[in-house]
Amino acid sequence: MSLVNSVPEMVLTTKVDQLLNWTRKSSLWYMLFGLACCAIELMQTGGPRADLDRFGMAPRATPRTSDLMIVAGTLTLKMALRTKLLYEQMPEPKYVVSMGSCSNCGGLFQLAYSVCDGVDKVIPVDVYVPGCPPRPEALTDGLILLQKKMSEEKWLVRPSAEEAALLS
């Protein structure tokens, strides 16, 4: 006998992982944090036309309540240390989107003495969005990609002995 037919109609069946992932990916709060010109496009993406709010995304003024860090702009070595600190202040689970060429690889400024060529030298990155700067459509695409990644995560599976060894 199917479970679906045995319960009243208002009851919805799902898997715990799916439910958790769906709630988490649908309320992805990002840190209000911009480094250079990409931040202007980030603001546009949060604005009414691209409208990040429709994915349940809202900017947060502190890393303590943020799930997502969008690194938008040229990362100088001076800022790299501070970016790392901000990342460490975010609660787990946390995600990083590297937005634009500068944050991906140093971009136009990669040979400059003061520039860190790539934010992945400092913190782990989940999604890279190319562009200089990426248009709001591109960033939205990257964020949807991140949501897809989040919806495939498994939380209730105990890691195998090998995985546990890797994690520790």
Partner: protein, 192 residues
């Protein structure tokens, strides 16, 4: 009405004055400085885009004061202050770009200082805008400014080693564990 007429009269006088003063040649400005400061004022140098007056490094503040306060000059605005390294002749040049709002005129001063121990008078007390500009030159070229109120790095982190706009600057291999060795797509390798 009387007030308006007075205002009108004043502005006519100002226009006449500025027409005379705008034609003031750089040589005349140099002569004026030379009369007051003597040998500290050097020659007028021809550049590709502008002429400049060379000043000794310990007479900068006095020259700046004169240029700002002389009624015929009134260089009341320091548009820019920058530095340039010339290892070939062992000097660092500081370039002052001045502007007079009253006479709509620009002037460039050049000051040479020894590369081994670069020390120049600060002009912060003449133009407060010099505070940050001198800090920038200190940060990137290592020139110290005598009499500056707060001479510390302004752009780079406080723990940075060296002054990157010097021609012989060697970039460290890493900064706080972040590798600074860069590989570009053109095959240019920097940072070592």
């Amino acid at each position: 009405m009387a007030g308006a007429a007075e205002c009108g009269g004043g502005s006519v006088a100002l226009v006449e004055l500025s027409r005379v003063e705008r034609d003031m040649e750089i040589a005349a400005i140099r002569r004026l400085l030379h009369d007051k400061l003597g040998a500290a004022v050097g020659v007028v140098e021809e550049g590709p885009h502008y002429e400049s007056i060379r000043i000794d490094d310990d007479a900068v503040e006095r020259a700046a004061m004169l240029l700002r306060d002389t009624p015929e000059l009134r260089f009341d605005c320091l548009s820019n202050l920058s530095g340039c390294d010339y290892p070939g002749r062992g000097a660092i040049d500081i370039v002052y770009d001045l502007y007079s709002y009253e006479f709509d005129r620009s002037l460039v001063l050049r000051v040479s200082t020894r590369r081994g121990d670069p020390l120049v008078d600060s002009v912060e007390r003449v133009w407060p805008a010099a505070n940050w500009l001198e800090r920038e030159v200190f940060d990137l070229l290592g020139v110290r400014f005598r009499g500056h109120s707060d001479l510390r790095r302004i752009l780079l982190p406080e723990d940075w080693v060296g002054h990157p706009l010097r021609k012989d600057y060697v970039e460290p291999e890493q900064y706080h564990g972040i590798s600074t060795v860069r590989e570009s797509m053109l095959g240019i390798r920097s940072g070592s």
